[in-house]
Each structure stands twice: as structure tokens, then as C-alpha cells.
């Protein structure tokens, strides 16, 4: 955390860092309390910021978070089918979490999924299956 000065304006950067460092990929109550302490802010202010932004999760997640773009262009190209497919496919694996997200700005290669910080374009079920196999093996590659 001390990569950033203890000033309120750095809160988003700090929350990103803390969330990434959490093995469960989320912001726990303890995390928020620690950030509040570091920034000399009341807990509720940190909570209010963390709960506003969609990239922060207040619930535990898996090591890999798959985000499926649900913006018009991706949906038109079949991302809702991919989402249904993934919902069935990843249910049992606690290491992989599934989320919907809005436009990732790679519309020329839709449908698009984001796994942690890696974007995969032109996806179909076969590619997803291959990607999932790799994720299950602990590797975020296609």
C-alpha cells in the first residue's frame, strides 16, 4: 500500500492493489479497515467508495475472474450464448468466478471475454473450452 501516499485521492489505486493482493480476489472487511486506517478515513467512507465501483468485489471470488462483455455489439455476436455456456460450465469450480461486464472497447473482435487482466477476442465455445482447460490448470493463456 505504501507505494501510494496516504491521501484520499489515491483510494482507487490502493483499493485495486489491495484487491489484487487478496488471495480471494475481493475486498474483505479487514482490507477496507486497513485502507481506512492507512488513509485516516472513517470506515464508512472507504466502504462507500468500494461499493460504488463495479470492479471492486465485496464478496470472495476465485483466482480467475472471467468477465463476459454484455454490451450490444458482443451480444449481437453471441456473447449471451457464451455466458449461458459458462454459467453451466464453471459452476462447480471455486477457482473461477463468472461476471458480466460492459464494453471493454475491443468491439472489432467481439465477442470478448476478460480474464483478470487479459482480453480474449473472437471467442466461441471451442476457444472458451480450451481457455477454461488452461485456467483449470492454473494458466491464464489461450
Amino acid at each position: 500500500m505504501n507505494k501510494y501516499l496516504p491521501e484520499k485521492e489515491n483510494i482507487l489505486e490502493i483499493l485495486h492493489l489491495v484487491q489484487n493482493a487478496n488471495p480471494k480476489n475481493f475486498l474483505s472487511k479487514e482490507d477496507l479497515a486497513e485502507v481506512a486506517n492507512y488513509l485516516h478515513l472513517p470506515y464508512n467512507q472507504v466502504y462507500s467508495v468500494a461499493s460504488f465501483y463495479s470492479m471492486f468485489s465485496l464478496k470472495p471470488r476465485g483466482k480467475f475472474v472471467i468477465k463476459v462483455c454484455q454490451s450490444p455489439h458482443c451480444v449481437v455476436n453471441g456473447s449471451d450464448n457464451l455466458l449461458d455456456f459458462l454459467k453451466k460450465r464453471v459452476k462447480k469450480n471455486p477457482e473461477i468466478s463468472l461476471e458480466e461486464c460492459q464494453c471493454l472497447g475491443v468491439c472489432g473482435n467481439s465477442p470478448v471475454v476478460l480474464v483478470n487482466d487479459k482480453i480474449y477476442g473472437d471467442m466461441d465455445k471451442e476457444k472458451l473450452e480450451k481457455l477454461l482447460k488452461n485456467l483449470e490448470g492454473g494458466k491464464n493463456v489461450l
Binding site: E7, E9, H16, F52, S54, H73, Q102
Partner: protein, 607 residues
């Protein structure tokens, strides 16, 4: 170092997502293996534009352009092209207008031919991580000119002559914004320059591409603006969904600092400037300037009522100026070539060029830059290469704040005022082309869902009103609508536009209002005839097995999740309509296409 061959590999997010990294690794490996690594430069560039042909590669000095590459193709590229000097025909682009004509040179690619590049001029031709390459194409010479020869007022005047208007969507004249911020009084002299890189509009990705492909150009534009308004600190606010853009702009800032282009007394002048990057965390509303300021301050991204405008009371209550990424990317060219030059492009009230993210049912999707005033038809046909499949139905401009236009608007020039007059909007420049397989009611619902999801919840017209509109659209698309719903949609939509606090709410009803205006018959078909002719709204269609075509293979019955298909090889198969959940499995699996998808709600016709 000078080498025989320069290989430019597109490393925009689009090509990276399509596998550019794997291609680079394989290429590097093969180049080493064939011992030609001292002859070949492999350079990562920003977005080259035609994203759906990615991953892309451009080989100089010949200017050969290869598309849709896979790591397996690299062997042939290395052995044939690099070693033997023979172009790999099958990887070239083809010109549809001339039968089977492969395009050998990048300059002949039709996609590029009809474009005029200003902001994107070097995007895709430079290594965005190298300051030297940017300087080699006159980079930072506009900054030098400004600091050496021009007073801040002169800069603002040059921008005024150019006529450039904000590229983020609102279209507010940039020179006015700058002169407000310049004349605003700050007690301690502190003013801020902010770059809005929170590009959240679905279907728009020009800001990402500019930040990834030519970050120094954006930084230089910001610095010229900062000099003009008297700011000494800049912030780039970039959404966290763009990690590569964040990385590249951070690198650009640190390189510029290293070379003394950022810091105190820049280029020997009195001008001092420093810049920082702030990342968002997934909130569309933060693209609105007051919400963006709240977010930089470390608060929830809630918009504030205006006035006071940011020019007087912005970041930490200091005078602040916010411009879009693309606006900044145009500034250095305006300074170097003069405002007159920029104003010679475009229309009377919308000058210069605009970058569009062309997506949807067009042949060439990707990033394009064209002069303002080009007609919708020219953009789709000449640059986009025409409709990819089906017939043109509508074009959505301006994302969730914009609207849909139709065939009758084919000759409408694309500029701020013409689009607004027709009920669409320039927005950030997302253009989604739709063919006749799209249901406009559903499209409108979709965009509304987006705005609903992203509404920050601060003011009730947006929070409650959008939900109400969405409920009505749900009703209509599920066949429960009545004609009064249309009046209700219109009046609520107008109310939200008039009373919402920020731009998100004020423009969120546009997709619904514009489709109601131009596709009213479709809404009426959904309500009166309970039909969705585009076969999209599942409640308003049904499946039927054509017994003349059915071969009785029983595949549909096996795949039906609710077992509503029965029959035999002799009798053929039938769907029990009352039990059918319209999942479409039978339609997808039928080997002889006997399962028909038909418009209209059907009450067991066959019985």
C-alpha cells in the same frame, strides 16, 4: 539500428485479444532460428484500424500488409517473405471490387483509401513505447513552437480559428472551454488540466486506441492546453478496463520526464508541468466531467449540478479544464499546420476530422478517421465496405446517449448539428451498423438496460424513470404491451431528458425515443399483432417443424430440454407449442433445416 526489414506488428488491444502475442513469440523464435535476427526489426505498434482482420502485420520497405495471422503462418512468412523475398499471397487482403485481386501494398487497401487521418496519423506506424520515434515525426515540435513563439492567448486563438469542438460527444467549442479556464481566477494560481479517458460508451474504442497507439501525441496536446489555460498539473483519468492504455501513457509520461519534456522550465521556458495517471474502477458515469472530478478526488463518482462549472470550481475546487483524449490528439497538428488548415476540412460548423469506431454488420469493422460532413452512406459503403450480410436497416450513432437512424438518413452528413437535429448524437463516435435481423425495440431496450445499470442513482428521474421505461419495454417485448404504453414511454423519456442532473440521464432515453420515431411500426407490431418480425423477441415468435422437409431423424426431440417434441420416422416430428420454451435448440441442430422460426405468438395452430 538500421535493419533490412521492419516488421510492424499491431499490438492494439484488438489484435492482442486475437492472439498477437503468440505471433510475436513465434516470429521471434523463427527469426532467431534462421539467423536473420540482425536483419529484421520486430516492432510493436498501436492499433492499425481494421480490427476484424487482426492480428495484423505490416512489412516494410515493401509495405506488404498481412491479415488474420496465426502462429502457424509465421513459418511461411519467415521462409518465403523474409528469406526468399516472395509475398505470401494467401495472407494478403483482397479487393472485392476486382475479382481475386490481392492487395500487395498497404496504400491500396480500400479501407485506408477513403480516410483522412489527423489524430490517428501515426497510430499503427509508431512504436508507442518510444519517445524517439514520436520525435522523429515532428513530435513535441508543436510544444516547442508554442513555448517559443506563442503567448497563451495566441494558442487559444489558433484553436479558435481551427474551429475544433470537443470530441467526447458534447461538441462544445474547445477554444471557449480553454478561454473560460484561462480567465478563471485561482487564489493560489493552481489550475488543472484533465484528460477524460473514461471511454465507457459501448461500441467506442478510439480513445483506447489513441492512448495505446500514440500516447505522446495525447500528452503533447494536453501540455499545449495546460500552457494555454495556465495549468501546471495534468491528470489522465483512464478506465481500469484499459490496462494497456494505462501502461503506455504512464510510460510516455516517465519518458517525457526523463527527457525534460515534463518538469520545471520545459525547453528553457517558464512553463512547468507535471502529469499523473488515475485509474477508474468501472463506472460509466465517471465519463461525465463532474463525476470524473469526484472520482479523481477519491470519492464515489457522483455528478454535481452545474454551475459552478469545472472551469471555475473543478478539481479540489480549483479551475479545471477537461478534454477528451481525441481532442488532445488533434492539438499538435493544429498548432503545426495552423488553424486554417484544420478548418479547411469538415463542414461549416463541425471542422476537421472525426475518428469513428465502426462496428456491426459492415464488411470492414475497426477504427476509421474521416472528415466531418461525410454522409452516413459514404461512411458505411466507402469506408466500411458495405453491409456484410442482409440488408441495411439502421445505424446507431453515439452509443447509449445517441439514437438510431434509418435508410432515409443515408445522405445525412455526419456532423454535430445534423445528427442532433435527427435525434441521434455524435457521442464519442461509436457507429453500430445493423442489418434487418435486428429488432429495434430490443436494441432500444438493450441500450436502456445499459444506462439503467450504469445510473449512479443520485437523482430520481434517471434512477426511477429509466427503470420505469425499462419495465414498459419488457412488457412490450414479451407481448403484454398496449398502445398507451407508447405515450407513456414518450412522456417519461422527455421528462427524464428535461430533469436529470447530468448528461447520462439527459441522454439516456434517446435510443428509445429515436427508435420510436423512426421504427414506430415495429413497436406497433409488437403491441398490436404480437409479432417480432426480426425474430428476436422470444415471446413473440414460435417454432414449427415443416413436415415436408423433416426426415424424422429425432435429433430435435433428443436435444429438446423440455421434451416437447414428439413423433416418429414415419409420422415426422411435431412441437407441442404450449410446452415449448423457445430455446431454439431444435432449430440449431436440425440437419435439414426443417425447424422454422416464425414470427408471431401462436396458440397451437396445428391443433
Amino acid at each position: 539500428m538500421y535493419k533490412r526489414v521492419d516488421i510492424l506488428l499491431c499490438f492494439g488491444s484488438g489484435c492482442v485479444s486475437a492472439g498477437a502475442r503468440g505471433i510475436k513469440e513465434e516470429l521471434q523464435r523463427l527469426v532467431r532460428e534462421n539467423k536473420i535476427d540482425n536483419e529484421v526489426n520486430i516492432i510493436e505498434t498501436g492499433c492499425m484500424g481494421p480490427c476484424d482482420y487482426g492480428p495484423l502485420m505490416l512489412i516494410y520497405p515493401e509495405g506488404v500488409f498481412y491479415k488474420k495471422l496465426t502462429p502457424e503462418d509465421m513459418k511461411e512468412v519467415v521462409e518465403e517473405h523474409l528469406i526468399k523475398g516472395r509475398v505470401v499471397e494467401r495472407l494478403l487482403m483482397h479487393d472485392d471490387t476486382v475479382a481475386d485481386r490481392a492487395i500487395r501494398n498497404v496504400e491500396d487497401v480500400p479501407f485506408y483509401k477513403n480516410q483522412t487521418k489527423v489524430a490517428l496519423k501515426y497510430c499503427g506506424y509508431l512504436n508507442p513505447e518510444s519517445l524517439e520515434e514520436y520525435v522523429a515525426v515532428d513530435g513535441y515540435s508543436a510544444l516547442g513552437k508554442v513555448l517559443e513563439e506563442m503567448k497563451p492567448e495566441d494558442v487559444i486563438n489558433e484553436i479558435k480559428i481551427s474551429g475544433i469542438r470537443g470530441r467526447g460527444g458534447g461538441g462544445f467549442p474547445t477554444h471557449l472551454k480553454w478561454s473560460f479556464a484561462r480567465s478563471a481566477k485561482s487564489e493560489d494560481g493552481v489550475k488543472y488540466m484533465i484528460c477524460n479517458g473514461d471511454e465507457g460508451d459501448p461500441g467506442a474504442f478510439m480513445d483506447r486506441s489513441l492512448l495505446e497507439g500514440d500516447p505522446h501525441r495525447v500528452l503533447e496536446g494536453m501540455m499545449i492546453g495546460a500552457y494555454a489555460i495556465g495549468a501546471s498539473k495534468g491528470y489522465f483519468y483512464i478506465r481500469a478496463e484499459y490496462p494497456l492504455a494505462i501502461e503506455r501513457i504512464k510510460l510516455a509520461i516517465s519518458k517525457a520526464r526523463e527527457y525534460g519534456l515534463i518538469g520545471d522550465n520545459i525547453l528553457g521556458s517558464d512553463f512547468c508541468f507535471d502529469a499523473e495517471v488515475r485509474t477508474g474502477a468501472g463506472a460509466f458515469v465517471c465519463g461525465e466531467e463532474t463525476a470524473l472530478i469526484s472520482s479523481i478526488e477519491g470519492k464515489r463518482g457522483h455528478p454535481k449540478p452545474k454551475p459552478p462549472f469545472p472551469a471555475n470550481k473543478g478539481l479540489w475546487d480549483k479551475p479545471s479544464n477537461i478534454n477528451n483524449v481525441e481532442t488532445f490528439a488533434n492539438i499538435s497538428s493544429i498548432i503545426l499546420n495552423g488553424g486554417q488548415w484544420f478548418a479547411s476540412m469538415g463542414t461549416e460548423k463541425s471542422k476537421g476530422t472525426k475518428v469513428f469506431a465502426l462496428t456491426g454488420d459492415v464488411k470492414n469493422t475497426g477504427l476509421v478517421e474521416v472528415p466531418m460532413g461525410i454522409t452516413i452512406g459514404e461512411l458505411i459503403d466507402n469506408v466500411g465496405g458495405g453491409i456484410s450480410k442482409g440488408n441495411f436497416k439502421a445505424v446507431q450513432l453515439g452509443g447509449p446517449s445517441g439514437g438510431c437512424l434509418t435508410k432515409e438518413h443515408w445522405d445525412v452528413p455526419i456532423d454535430y448539428d445534423s445528427l442532433t437535429a435527427k435525434g441521434a448524437m455524435m457521442g464519442s463516435g461509436g457507429v453500430i451498423v445493423m442489418n434487418d435481423s435486428k429488432c429495434m425495440v430490443n436494441v432500444a431496450k438493450f441500450f436502456l438496460e445499459f444506462s439503467l445499470e450504469e445510473s449512479c442513482g443520485k437523482c430520481s428521474p434517471c434512477r426511477v424513470g429509466l427503470k420505469h421505461m425499462h419495465n414498459i419495454l419488457e412488457k412490450i417485448t414479451s407481448g403484454q404491451g398496449c398502445m398507451e404504453d407508447l405515450d407513456e414511454l414518450e412522456s417519461v423519456g422527455k421528462l427524464i431528458k428535461a430533469t436529470s442532473l447530468c448528461g447520462l440521464g439527459q441522454s439516456a432515453p434517446n435510443p428509445v425515443l429515436s427508435t420510436m420515431k423512426y421504427f414506430r411500426n415495429e413497436y406497433e407490431a409488437h403491441i398490436k399483432d404480437k409479432r417480432c418480425d426480426a425474430l428476436v423477441c422470444t415471446e413473440l415468435l414460435h417454432f414449427n417443424i415443416n413436415k415436408d422437409k423433416c426426415v424424422g431423424c429425432s435429433l430435435c426431440a433428443k436435444k429438446c430440454p423440455v421434451n416437447c417434441i414428439s413423433g416418429s420416422r414415419e409420422e415426422k416430428f411435431d412441437i407441442a407449442q404450449d410446452a415449448c420454451i423457445k430455446c431454439g435448440n431444435c432449430h440449431d441442430v436440425c440437419p435439414v433445416k426443417a425447424v422454422e422460426k416464425l414470427a408471431g405468438k401462436v396458440e397451437c395452430e396445428e391443433e
